[in-house]
Symmetry: C2
Subunit: 384 residues, 2 copies
């Protein structure tokens, strides 16, 4: 096990009916800015529950945070928060809304140009307190301190994190996910699955705790993912999906182990070039990435095959291939295509994708920093 620091102060309030707990969590005298995305929380009753819980506190709504939240939009929220004298932010939505709210919180307390937080990785020493009501199990943003923000005008997509940008609390009510479109459930399951894989399938460092936790979460996703599509109102299924997606990226399974994240980086370029959903790009890249890097990842791939998929027969390479195939089949069972051609993208894009990685300085990715542009090209080629 590698040395690590683990610290996660977010309070999780989990279960049916827990939106009402906002009344105890949001400071009594707070002036609250509710931040949200599109209109679904207006129609599915979530916003009404939130407003009821806030009672006679002064609250305002900033809506329109996009799926890939932009600096431009978020700075409008910063202006509104200042104008209204806001002192508490409440994100109501999925990962994009929560990521965006982290940036709003940081920008409100930042001296200087907030874009520096992203471009220059300027230190965020303080942030306005905020909480979240999660509506979409996927990114884990509800229990971590990171955010990914895009600059529409510049075409940049950059991340930041800070000890000051953990949500004070997050409310996780699995019943609010009942009305989600199946595509969002599919994407959420794939997203959480690949978050875990990026922290698990690297090389062994004797971290039994992190491995067992990662394997447990992966097994749960293979079970509840298809059930969540087939039986949308099954509380237990949605509860386990929601808690699993949170724990997939709250720092716990990634503490003390090497991490990869090359699949994410190669996927980001596909989204940027072709507009695919983030999870679709992960489902395309991961099986190809594991195939191309099977030697570097051999020991963990064999462990993954045995413990997650119960694959115990055959040679090492046969077991590894079977585990990669099982992963692909699982994504497709979640109705997420796993090849570029499933999205009508051909091999002609590959040179552009590789050039973009180079342009972004992403030339030494992965846990060994050995995913060079040439390796990335082979991954994209295998993913056609």
């Amino acid at each position: 096990m590698q040395n690590f620091t683990f610290h996660n102060p977010t309070r999780i309030i989990f279960g049916e009916g827990q939106i009402a707990a906002l009344n105890a969590e949001v400071p009594r005298e707070a002036r609250v800015l509710i931040t949200c995305g599109g209109g679904s929380i207006n129609t599915n009753g979530v916003l009404a529950q939130v407003q009821a819980a806030l009672g006679d506190r002064a609250w305002f709504v900033f809506s329109g945070i996009e799926p890939n939240p932009t600096y431009e939009t978020l700075m409008q929220a910063v202006a509104m928060a200042r104008e209204k004298g806001i002192d508490f932010l409440l994100a109501v939505g999925g990962g994009s809304v929560i990521d965006g709210t982290k940036f709003i919180a940081a920008a409100l307390k930042f001296e200087g140009e907030p874009w520096d937080i992203l471009e220059k990785q300027a230190e965020v020493c303080d942030a306005m307190p905020f909480g979240s009501v999660l509506t979409l199990p996927a990114t884990g943003s509800e229990m971590n301190n990171g955010g990914v923000i895009s600059h529409r005008a510049r075409g940049d997509k950059l991340s930041f994190s800070s000890d000051a940008t953990y949500p004070r609390f997050s409310v996780l009510d699995p019943t609010v996910t009942y009305s989600l479109p199946s595509r969002q459930i599919s994407n959420g399951v794939v997203d959480a699955f690949v978050h875990i894989i990026e922290q698990y399938i690297t090389y062994p460092v004797g971290a039994s705790v992190q491995d067992r936790f990662a394997e447990g979460l992966l097994i749960i996703l293979t079970e509840v993912g298809p059930q969540a599509l087939a039986d949308p109102h099954n509380y237990s299924v949605r509860a386990n999906l929601m808690w699993t997606a949170t724990l997939a990226l709250n720092g716990l399974i990634g503490a003390g182990v090497p991490q990869d994240w090359a699949t994410h980086m190669l996927g980001h370029e596909i989204t940027a070039l072709h507009g695919l959903d983030h999870a679709q790009t992960l489902a395309i890249v991961l099986p190809a990435m594991l195939s191309v890097r099977r030697n570097e990842k051999r020991a963990k791939l064999l462990q993954y095959a045995e413990r997650v998929w119960n694959i115990r027969q055959g040679s090492e390479d046969e077991r590894i291939s079977a585990a990669i195939t099982a992963t692909r089949v699982f994504f497709e069972r979640m109705s997420v295509g796993t090849r570029l051609r499933d999205y009508e993208i051909g091999g002609g894009s590959i040179s552009t994708l590789v050039a973009k990685l180079e342009e972004h300085g992403l030339t030494a990715l992965g846990e060994h920093a050995d995913v060079t542009p040439e390796v990335a090209r082979r991954v994209y080629q295998l993913a056609v």
Copy 2:
């Protein structure tokens, strides 16, 4: 899954050499009271490392916190902290030292008679900030907010917890456990194992995440426990043991599930009457408790048999019996006797033990509150 709130703000600093990190964690201007137990930290180099890390801060040492920390001793530490103008406490030790330091921290900020925190469960709204350097993997106190304190004069042993009594940080350096006596390793493994069981073997509530995490931790203990005895300087083994014992009782696997704790209660009476180590009493009571309550716990016992011990053959009752036997064999492999007679205690004590449970009002224990004195008697009888 049941509704739950999970919140754990303790910062974990994990790994070899991390005691030096105290310099960054303890406030620069702090006047520090180091709290500790006996003399081992003087001879194994831990206290020297702590003092070196504190540098030129003003620090004082209060030693002599007992294995079952007493109110009388802890109030001496409170007096010393007041006299020396202390504003930060640093527990250096195992669960007893950390439990005791939580009480010192609470008592220092408590208006009125601190014993009320225990006897009257008076609310602890504030506590002096404190951190810990863990020397013994066992109780999980380093990452939770609870403490168990005894009153020597009254013969009471009572617990308390508060949001204010989480350690600010805990340093977990596995190498400091290398010099522990094997009996303390044995006890620590059994203690952590039974902590997990008390939160896991109850009845199913569809909490897949908590189950998978509990099973993972149990499997790790069955692996690293014997290795820790056989190979005391194996870093990876000690690291996984230390992190497992912490996660066994940091609130995570117990959130959203029913909990038992009857084994602990029956064990406490054995300690009180016969002076056995806490873990010894757990090793005695647990196999008998699981046998007596096999019907109430049937579903989870079968799951435990399959997932932790890989027992898949035979009738349900055969599998359950095999799992209970495997548990007993494991404890004995850890050199902890699992029957009263192993400690020269006969059946003649049982009526006294049951009477003590009744005297302490512990007449409806367990996840169904159905462990009556009569059930407890059967458990003790089976444990002879």
